[in-house]
């Protein structure tokens, strides 16, 4: 709908909307996170859902203990190589549309344990992460900011066209391959369709 016409109508007291806006407005205000925490970031996640920071203001207070009812996976904490297959399997069991917030230094890169033999160096090696939050651990305000960023992202998603999000594309996968906990590393160590190692340009 034409933006000028809409503002002209709203000046006359006629509120107009589109199906897309209405759909995204409903979706972004009812994101239910999956109730699971991996390490100390989970404590901050719990704090943000409690009364002081009150994630309920954003319609996200309903932490679901089952992936079947969740829209958002907050990867809160260090993902060890032993835990990574379970995290990815939980993600696979969530219904579409689903989103991932990688919370804290560990979840986005391995953080202070990056050199550890048993720590996955970022959950984005296996899952399509929507929002990264740096911090060790991030404050609840940072999680709320990430949540608002995700809401903005949901709000801008198109229903049709080539730029429509992954869950509306019939060919895009809903499940991602679960790595095996191998002898030395996860097998495979990353999902090349989701993550490519950064190219170092040397001159």
């Amino acid at each position: 709908m034409d933006e000028g016409l809409r503002s002209e109508l709203s000046k006359q007291g006629v509120f107009t909307t589109t199906l897309e806006d209405l759909y995204n407005w409903g979706r972004k205000n009812s994101v239910w996170p999956l109730q699971f925490g991996l390490a100390c970031c989970a404590i901050e996640m719990i704090a943000s859902s409690m009364s002081r920071f009150d994630l309920a203001r954003f319609g996200a207070e309903v932490f679901r203990p089952s992936p079947r009812q969740a829209d958002l996976m907050i990867v809160a904490g260090t993902v060890t190589k032993k835990m990574a297959p379970q995290v990815i399997r939980l993600y696979n069991q969530m219904p579409e549309p689903k989103y991932v917030i990688a919370m804290g230094a560990c979840a986005i890169s391995g953080g202070p344990f990056k050199q550890g033999y048993n720590v996955l160096k970022g959950i984005d090696r296996f899952l399509p992460v929507d929002v990264h939050i740096p911090g060790c651990p991030p404050r609840p305000e940072a999680l709320i900011h990430a949540f608002m960023t995700l809401q903005r992202k949901i709000d801008e998603q198109k229903l049709t066209g080539p730029n429509r999000p992954r869950h509306l594309v019939a060919d895009a996968p809903s499940e991602f391959p679960v790595p095996q906990f191998g002898e030395h590393d996860l097998v495979p160590p990353s999902n090349p369709k989701v993550w490519q190692p950064p190219k170092v340009a040397r001159s």
Binding site: P67, Q86, N92, Q93, M94, P95, H167, L168, E175, V178
Partner: protein
């Protein structure tokens, strides 16, 4: 009013059917137009869990759990009867006293039977 008295029931029934079916129908239409279904092996798994379930659910439990529970229940019921008995003890007739003693005897007999059968020793 020569309307049928059951007319409003029919209207209620129609609303009651349409109220749940309408949103489901709308959701189906929406899914057919925009959002493609993406079933998968893990998504359709019976148990929603990070770990794959393994083994058989049809396993045998020890009957000792059951016997312990039964014996516990006997003493639980006994306590419920003994408390009012103890409170009202001074005002009771001889017949009531004998009756509660018979009741106690039956319970103790059951315990002695279970003891002799070796139920109380956990093997």
């Amino acid at each position: 009013m020569d309307q049928s008295p059951y007319l409003f029931l029919t209207v209620f029934l129609a609303i009651a059917v349409a109220f749940p079916l309408g949103p489901i129908l709308l959701a189906r239409l929406w899914a057919a137009k925009y959002s493609p279904q993406k079933p998968g092996e893990q998504k359709n798994a019976t148990y929603e869990c990070g770990l794959e379930s393994k083994g058989d659910a049809m396993i045998q439990f020890k009957s000792q759990y059951y016997l312990y529970a039964i014996i516990f229940l006997i003493f639980d019921v006994e306590t419920i009867f003994l408390l009012p008995f103890a409170v009202a003890f001074t005002g009771l007739s001889v017949g009531a006293f004998v009756a509660i003693m018979i009741f106690l005897l039956l319970l103790v007999e059951g315990l002695a039977w279970a003891w002799m059968k070796g139920v109380l020793t956990w093997k």
